[in-house]
Amino acid sequence: MSEVKVIIGIIMTAVLVNNYVLSQFLGICPFLGVSKKLDQATGMSIAVIFVMVLATAVTYPIQYFVLNPNDLGYLQTIVFILVIAALVQLVEIILKKYIPALHASLGVYLPLITTNCAVLGVCISNVDSYLLENAAFGSSFVHALFNAFGSGVGFFLAMVLFAGVRTRVERCNCPACFKGMPITLISASILSVSFMGFAGLVENLLGLG
């Protein structure tokens, strides 16, 4: 089992099989709130990918080097929220100063992501799954980063797909009682059912255990 294969497996699992929005039902708030227009959905998703990778890059070492040696695993949630919130603020300040163009396109979404459960979920699940490997810090950390990136891409995929679905649904002549949020929730559930079809895909495709 080569390393590349493992990484491809991690990314595909995160994007398709364990899609954060459609299979694990995290990050539903932006999924329903910001998916009305395609450009907004894209902006939000790119910001999410960015923050997910960054948050994992920071919280993983904290868990590994600070919390676990001191038997403070139970402080995980509060520490992660604190660190992610501070991190997003810092990133916003840095972007505003040095890359105003990127700030103009991502800036609106960054504060929204601060307390996004999908971001926290990625950090916690990374820590939980990769620390179990008992591998050296280096390789498990890289896996966690790729998993975070894949999860972000999965969020992006779900957002873009759903933005497309919603623009079609808005133009449809659906019964008045289903108009607005009800039909949106129903289409979200159908989209989520369709993602169930990816279960088992990665194991069989790449021959992973």
Binding site: N70, L72, V79, L82, L90, I94, K97
Partner: protein, 272 residues
């Protein structure tokens, strides 16, 4: 007890590091914001209607500060008072702001015209227009499905007898309806206009007559009788030059179809 102390200390240290980091970052990487932009933004009404031609009030405020040649009177909903305030903030001369309101140039109610087919599709003028130019007998007229009413930020447009009408007291003159109307039936006119032509049909007189008994047939009686030369008939349709119009009301008397509507005329005018 020791466990608690360790937990509290670790958390406090992490929080302290985050706090110091953010404080330092905000000190050293603070972006100096233009102080004028928020001040100018305060003068604007915040309707984000886009009548000024910019993407919302923020866009106009930023453009005003950036471009010294940009007129300060582009905000229609804000009117003269907004222009004066902006002028005061930026220290520029204020031009005159003419209050504009929307006018639906169509009198084709159910009583005077008829549909040429039954339309059962998406409830939108733009969609209806795609099918043979709309369901009405007159393809220039108001389709009556209310696309304009949907975009109106002030809910100033309502439908009466299959034709959109504007509540001029509620209209802020943003012009969104005029941009939305697929038939370009809605025109922005000065609120102080005396006479408007309530028809947009460029068809020949006989064809207009067949489709709608209230349409402008292009007979030019108004053009000939207007002492101020404010009315011109072009492409079988009369149009009023609001600056020249004196509001004498002569045109209203001679118009055979009643498509001229008097709003504020000196002489007693017959109601169209």
């Amino acid at each position: 007890m020791e466990v608690v102390i360790i937990a509290v200390v670790v958390l406090a240290i992490i929080a302290l590091i985050c706090g110091v980091m953010l404080t330092v970052a905000s000190k050293f990487m603070a972006v100096e914001q233009d102080e004028l932009t928020p001040q100018v933004r305060e003068c604007l009404p915040g309707a984000n209607c886009g009548a000024c031609g910019f993407a919302g009030c923020d866009g106009y405020a930023a453009a005003l500060v950036a471009d010294p040649d940009l007129p300060v009177n582009l905000c229609v909903p804000g009117g003269a008072s907004a222009a004066e305030q902006i002028g005061a903030v930026l220290g520029r001369d204020v031009g005159e702001v003419v209050k504009m309101v929307a006018e639906v140039r169509c009198s084709g109610t159910c009583a005077v015209t008829r549909p040429k087919m039954d339309y059962e599709g998406i409830e939108s003028c733009a969609a209806a227009k795609l099918l043979f130019g709309g369901s009405g007998a007159c393809i220039y007229g108001c389709a009556g499905l209310g696309d304009c009413a949907k975009v109106c930020p002030e809910q100033a447009i309502y439908l009466v007898g299959g034709v959109a009408r504007v509540d001029t007291s509620a209209c802020v003159g943003c012009g969104l309806c005029a941009k939305t109307c697929p038939n370009h039936v809605i025109e922005m006119r000065p609120a102080a206009a005396h006479v408007v032509v309530a028809c947009s049909s460029h068809q020949k007189g006989a064809d207009t007559r067949k489709a709608c008994s209230a349409g402008c047939i292009g007979c030019k009686l108004c053009e000939r009788n207007c002492a101020a030369g404010a009315i011109t008939v072009k492409d079988n349709l009369a149009s009023v030059d609001y600056e020249k119009c004196t509001g004498c009301g002569k045109c209203l008397e001679v118009c055979p179809s009643g498509c001229l509507v008097g709003l504020d005329v000196a002489a007693p005018a017959k109601e169209a």
